[in-house]
């Protein structure tokens, strides 16, 4: 099962130009599933970096615009897109000129994977 999901994610990774990593973690940033190319900087996939997202969405919800669903950070060399699927967080790492819209459009495609992982996290 895990191998099938990984293959599916690897296919998605190969299809989008500039996408370097898809990472599923829990709310503390503990990695559950990861597919990546060699280009990903190590610091980006550390739990300490990813768990910052939880703090950011808590602050974001105070803006009065409802629940924060996505967070896009574009840096000089990379962009990070994180999706709120609590208790799962999906993190995409891509090059700065990668197509952000295409990454956002993956949300529905990954719903099935999120479903499987959510039930796993709930059981443990």
């Amino acid at each position: 099962m895990a191998e099938e999901i990984k293959k599916h994610l690897q296919d998605i990774l190969n299809k989008i130009d500039g996408l370097q990593c898809i990472l599923f973690t829990d709310r503390d940033g503990v990695p559950l599933l990861k597919v990546n190319t060699e280009k990903v900087p190590e610091s980006v996939v550390k739990p300490s970096f990813i768990s910052t997202f939880c703090l950011a969405i808590d602050q974001g919800s105070k803006l009065g615009l409802g629940r924060t669903s996505n967070l896009i950070c574009i840096y000089s060399q990379h962009q990070i897109v994180q999706m709120n699927k609590l208790p799962i967080i999906i993190t995409f790492v891509a090059s700065e000129n990668c197509n952000t819209g295409q990454i956002l459009a993956l949300e529905k495609q990954l719903d099935s994977v999120v479903g499987v992982l959510t039930s796993t996290v709930a059981e443990t």
């Binding site: 197509n99 952000t100 819209g101 990454i103 956002l104 529905k108």
Partner: protein, 89 residues
């Protein structure tokens, strides 16, 4: 700010046979969408325009038409903006 774009999209939709239109930026983020076009397709439209432009890198940006039996989707990239129009044949 987007009033002008809204007005232009209304004008496009007022033509007969036009089903929808969408505009995206270079990052594939939706600037505006009306009619049948959905904001979720913005990324794919920008990606198609970028990939097809690589076929002839030194020429002007191409006009791309995707067609089925009864509809077509016309995509063109001009400067930082990519536009797509959905049309009945």
């Amino acid at each position: 700010m987007e009033k002008n774009l809204d007005r232009i999209m209304e004008q496009i939709l007022s033509n007969t046979d036009i089903l929808g239109c969408i505009f995206t930026d270079k990052q594939g983020l939706c600037i505006g969408a009306k009619g049948r076009a959905t904001p979720e397709s913005a990324g794919y439209i920008a990606a198609i325009a970028n990939q097809v432009a690589k076929l002839e890198p030194n020429k002007e940006t191409p006009i791309i038409t995707l067609e089925n039996d009864n509809q077509k989707c016309i995509i063109q990239n001009i400067g930082p903006i990519t536009g797509a129009i959905y049309k009945n044949i």
